[in-house]
């Protein structure tokens, strides 16, 4: 009897667990376009749809979905109906790799938009490249992804199928350093990073540029992204006498970090990259986040004339989540794949060729069009040719653009 109830309970529990998993994956199913006739081509999305970074990830997913809907509505590529397939990577490299394998297996997938995290991209690149499946990331800023681990000395294209619409940290870090040193007039910095590919890389390029300008690094610290207790670090910042903190990392940690630094008595602004430029940052940081800065890739989407249509369409489509920091880039990423597919299909008498993946990848290299964020095209490494950046500051509970520009220094 006891044995039986044991089995019953185990069964009930595992059934429960399975249902829950199912709930989780339902979100990542295709809830995009309405198919009508012709060949169906899938555009894959890999982004963190759950967990800490889901605010950014869901913005990416919705924006790609919008691009695909627009392409279908306009019948932009004759005889082809697009469909999206979004997979959740939770910001984990291992999940990213599994998702890539799934995309490769699904023959209808001709391009993948994503991921958000540079560390996830590292695990996806080879899998997709081996299948010659094109990948366009709207958000990866790690320079090594396109230009190789030795990018400072010798640039080598890593994977022919990897492209991105985001600007790299090789530009973003120095751009921030220049602003902090010359415009904000801060000379003593305390640099903190989260040891991830993105955070550590950004902190390194910032540090180099800041030192070159004549600034002083009064302390460095690496935090553990799994914890929320930064009190020991905050005390160190206070005692270092720094007049500014640079954080290479993402908003789930940056919010509590800025709060705890200010609570410890160090009333200095925190500066970060595009990874902290999300509304969740000041929700988590509270009043302490006021006056903090973030650099982000491109000009503010709201101010670009080319983006007005995107913002209006996004609103009309009624997505529950905001398009967040990478919305415009995600739309452009998806559209670049659509453009490449259009070229391939047009060259093949309106049919999708059998070796479509390799052809789409090749066509992507020469794509050029006016997108949401400006002119979209890729250089010989797969990087965006658009190298604009903007400094934002938290004011009255919102990110306000301070100034935009391009970084042309070394």
């Amino acid at each position: 009897m006891r044995q039986r109830s044991l089995i019953a309970i185990t069964a009930a529990l595992s059934a429960g667990a399975l249902t829950l998993t199912a709930c989780g994956s339902r979100d990542s199913g295709d809830n995009g376009s309405d198919a009508k006739g012709g060949t169906t081509v899938t555009i894959g999305i890999d982004a963190p749809l759950t967990g800490d970074l889901s605010a950014l990830g869901l913005g990416i997913k919705n924006s790609v979905d919008l691009a695909v809907k627009n392409a279908n509505k306009k019948e932009y590529v004759k005889g082809v109906t697009f469909k999206v397939e979004a997979k959740d990577d939770q910001g984990q490299p291992s999940s990213g790799q599994q998702n890539s394998t799934a995309f490769v297996t699904d023959k209808s997938v001709l391009g993948v938009v994503g991921p958000l995290n540079s560390s996830v991209a590292e695990s996806m690149q080879k899998v997709l490249d081996d299948a010659k499946l094109a990948q366009v990331s709207p958000a990866n800023t790690g320079p090594g992804l396109t230009q190789g681990p030795d990018w400072q000395k010798k640039k080598v294209r890593q994977y022919k199928s990897y492209f991105r619409t985001a600007t790299t940290d090789a530009i973003q870090g120095p751009y921030a350093a220049e602003y902090v040193f010359n415009k904000a007039k801060k000379k003593k910095v305390f640099v903190i990073d989260d040891k991830k590919t993105y955070g550590a890389g950004l902190a390194a390029t910032f540090t180099d540029a800041f030192k070159k300008l004549g600034g002083k690094v009064v302390g460095t610290e690496h935090i553990n992204p799994d914890t929320k207790d930064f009190s020991a670090v905050a005390t160190k910042v206070k005692n270092s006498g720094a007049d500014v903190v640079y954080y290479g990392g993402e908003y789930p940690q940056a919010g509590p970090l800025t709060k705890q630094i200010k609570a410890a008595g160090a009333k200095v602004p925190l500066v970060g990259g595009d990874g902290i430029k999300d509304d969740t940052f000041f929700k988590l940081g509270g009043p302490a986040a006021t006056g903090d800065y973030a650099t982000s890739v491109g000009a503010p989407v709201e101010t670009l004339p080319s983006a007005k249509q995107f913002v209006a369409d996004y609103k009309a489509a009624g997505y529950k989540e905001a398009y967040a920091a990478y919305g415009g880039y995600s739309y452009d990423s998806a559209w670049s794949i659509i453009e490449a597919i259009k070229k391939v299909v047009d060259d093949n008498d309106g049919k999708v060729p059998s070796d479509a993946r390799a052809k789409v990848t090749a066509a992507l290299q020469n794509v050029s069009f006016d997108g949401v964020t400006g002119k979209v095209s890729f250089d010989e490494y797969g990087d965006a040719t658009n190298k604009q950046l903007t400094v934002y500051s938290v004011k009255d509970g919102a990110w306000k653009a301070v100034e935009s520009g391009t970084y042309n220094g070394s």
Partner: protein, 310 residues
Amino acid sequence: MNELPQQLVNGLLLGSMYGLVAIGYTMVYGIVQLINFAHGEIFMTGAFGALTVYVYILPDGTSMWIALPLMLVGAIVVAVTVAVGAERFAYRPLRSAPRLAPLITAIGLSLALQQAVWAWYPEAKSARTFPSIPGGPFEIGNVTIQTGDVFLVAAAPLSMAVLAYFVMRTRTGRGMQATAQDPDTAKLMGVNTDRIIVIAFALGAAFAAVGSVAYGFKYGQIDFRMGFILGLKAFTAAVLGGIGNIYGAMLGGLVLGVAEALSTAYIADIPGMDKFGSQSWADVWAFVLLILVLLLRPQGLLGERVADRA
């Protein structure tokens, strides 16, 4: 400027939170020899219970003096309900099964609880903001104590005192000690062991709930994964202090917290060690300490030498 006092306070605050959660691990282990890996998630549900009271039950703008006790009650009610439910439906049917079976069940339960909150709690897919206690930080000498930590400073010793009184002085508490020493004999002496076990789960959950409210005030945000790492640390604290010993749990928590804070602050100053001193290495040093303690005192800091019970 000397930062030692501040870093010690940082460590003690973090440590008393570990300690509050560690009590649940140690009590349940002491009585049924089960490592309840779902305890971290019970802690998490407590925090969401408190948030529910504040956001969805109390009217906007309720004074913190009224809200805080009610949030605490909400946290305790939710955490105890989940813990007692887990004991009744997940662990009790397995009580005579091999010891690995309830352990695996605990891990499964931990995942199920995380996913349940993720799926069904409104807007819990990313971190939710927790209310904060108004008022500025308090400065004592060159040590700053944050307003959010005041609750922890008051709650941790108070909870310990209540627990000590309960276990040592009350009839149920003595029944608990008896069950821990020998369940079969305790049963023969008329102790209702089933009831004792439920009480152990409930008490552990209540302390975790107090800890979870403290966590919310301290960090200003809670999320569905907050219990995982904290639970792991609390379990470590319980082992460090001597698993099965409630004072050991608190002491282990404090030692662990202080070790983390001090290693973040000072290891980097040792010549040649600057690579190993950042906060990301604090966990490593905390575990080095655990290994050292267990090498010298396998039963933990305050643990009794018990002939192979586990």
